[in-house]
């Protein structure tokens, strides 16, 4: 199942988001983003199934974790713009 990545501003935010989504029964984990993706460098992201992206972002926004940027994982684990 292809994954989507929701960028978070810190590791603590990513952790909170993972807990939030897991509590709601969603599979979620953390991963680092490639160095060139967040403008500021060294970003953290929440990894969810691609089909759950909209739902996950909505839940995160409602819980007060603003999410604007997201990416997708390709088959080799690379990070790409979502098609």
């Amino acid at each position: 199942m292809p994954n989507a990545l929701i960028a978070c501003r810190s590791v603590t935010y990513a952790q909170r988001a993972v807990r939030l989504l897991e509590k709601a029964g969603m599979r979620a984990s953390m991963r680092r983003l490639p160095a060139d993706l967040p403008e500021t460098g060294c970003g953290h992201a929440v990894r969810v199934e691609r089909e759950k992206l909209t739902q996950a972002m909505q839940m995160m926004n409602e819980a007060g974790f603003p999410t604007r940027v997201y990416f997708c994982e390709d088959e080799n684990g690379g990070v790409i713009k979502c098609p």
Binding site: T12, Q15, R16, M30, A35, E39, G41, C42, G43
Partner: protein, 373 residues
């Protein structure tokens, strides 16, 4: 001779066994939190997050982001004081503040920060509120108040002082070094709360917490790597990253989380009966002066034996296998307030590991030492 340890106001010695076990696990499994995406880095991040969550639960906070991990209470106090004190303005402090407050403020004197210690008589909480109320004027940029005196166990009415500060828009810092783990604390209230991990939270030395109130923010005391936002030459604007530069003490955080969970499970009010018993029984010895008022005291009990310097009393007790602390307890201001600055006091303070038998042993030993005088 087994040691009867009654110096818990300095550091609790007997930690719940799960504290050491959690530290050992963290030592063997944690990498650098937030410094990578691999399992060991993620494990470290989990350990820190777990500690923040445990603290947020104990201190009734709505979220863990405002739980800042520090090296100790002094680190937390320095961070808050040096960010909130403003040149050309005054800082109000109670008459019971520790050097962890007095010295950072002293270092700011050259920058034009004026420290105003308030005359706050012992075991008179209403007078404390009145003094702060009278002194809170436009010249004041900050109020600092200890929650429980580390010398006398006096519980100061910090919630009432916080209300006054909030109404006047003056930031407030509470030194919760002696109260964290003993008294209820609401980290979502107005003040910044600073506390050590190694006293009544049963964490290891080298740990502490700063609870930032909702909407609160501080300038960093140190700048450095945070594991994120790395192209930004300044510290991030968000918590907790803004106030946590450098690699974290993950084993310490693991131990602190275990200590906090122990308290959450077993309750925090175990020392009050020991404090009362000690004060009552020592008061019954002629020639022993005890500082006590059960209505507004918790944790430490200070006493003096007539004709004995407090360090001598502590040494004689140590010779009998009882650990208490003598002297000024790094709080000369508190001793000046009460009038014990010449001799200091001997201080006994308790943990979950102490029992009524320990108090009985202390009382027996004090009688014996008094008889030597």
């Amino acid at each position: 001779m087994p040691l009867i340890y009654l110096d818990n106001a300095a550091t609790t010695l007997h930690k719940p066994p799960e504290v050491g076990a959690a530290m050992q696990r963290a030592l063997n499994t944690c990498g650098g939190a937030g410094r990578g995406g691999h399992a060991a880095a993620q494990k470290a991040a989990e350990v820190l997050f777990d500690c923040r969550e445990a603290a947020a639960r104990l201190f009734q906070m709505s979220g863990p982001d405002r739980v800042i991990l520090t090296c100790n209470a002094t680190h937390a106090l320095n961070m808050a004081i040096k960010s909130l004190a403003k040149p050309g303005k005054s800082v109000l402090i109670s008459g019971y503040e520790h050097n962890a407050v007095v010295r950072p403020l002293g270092s700011l004197e050259a920058a034009g920060v004026k420290t105003v210690p308030l005359p706050t008589p012992l075991f008179e909480p209403d007078a404390v509120v009145k003094r702060f109320e009278e002194a809170l004027d436009d010249s004041v940029c900050l109020a600092v108040c200890i929650h429980v005196s580390n010398v006398f166990g006096f519980v100061l009415p910090v919630e009432r002082v916080a209300e006054l500060c909030r109404a006047r828009g003056v930031p407030m810092i509470v030194d919760a070094s002696q109260s964290a783990g003993l008294l209820p604390i609401n980290g979502d209230l107005y003040p910044y709360w600073c506390m050590p991990g190694h006293k009544s939270l049963y964490g290891p030395q080298g740990t502490g917490l700063l609870l930032v109130p909702p909407g609160g923010m501080l300038a960093p005391l140190m700048e450095g790597g945070t594991g994120g936002d790395s192209r930004n030459p300044r510290m991030p604007e968000y918590l907790p990253d803004r106030l946590e530069a450098g690699t974290h003490n993950a084993p310490g955080a693991a131990g602190l989380a275990a200590g906090i969970r122990y308290l959450t499970k077993n309750g925090t009010d175990y020392t009050a009966p020991l404090t009362r018993q000690t004060a009552e029984e020592l008061s019954g010895i002629k020639g022993v002066e005890v500082y006590s008022n059960p209505a507004c005291q918790t944790g430490p009990v200070s006493f003096r034996i007539e004709g004995k310097d407090s360090e001598t009393t502590a040494t004689l007790l140590s010779d009998r296998g009882i650990a208490v602390r003598g002297g000024l307890h790094c709080a000369p201001l508190a001793h000046n307030t009460v009038g014990t600055e010449a001799t200091g006091t001997a201080r006994a303070a308790f943990s979950h590991a102490n029992t009524a038998r320990d108090i009985a042993a202390l009382v027996r030993a004090v009688r014996e030492i008094k008889a030597l005088a």
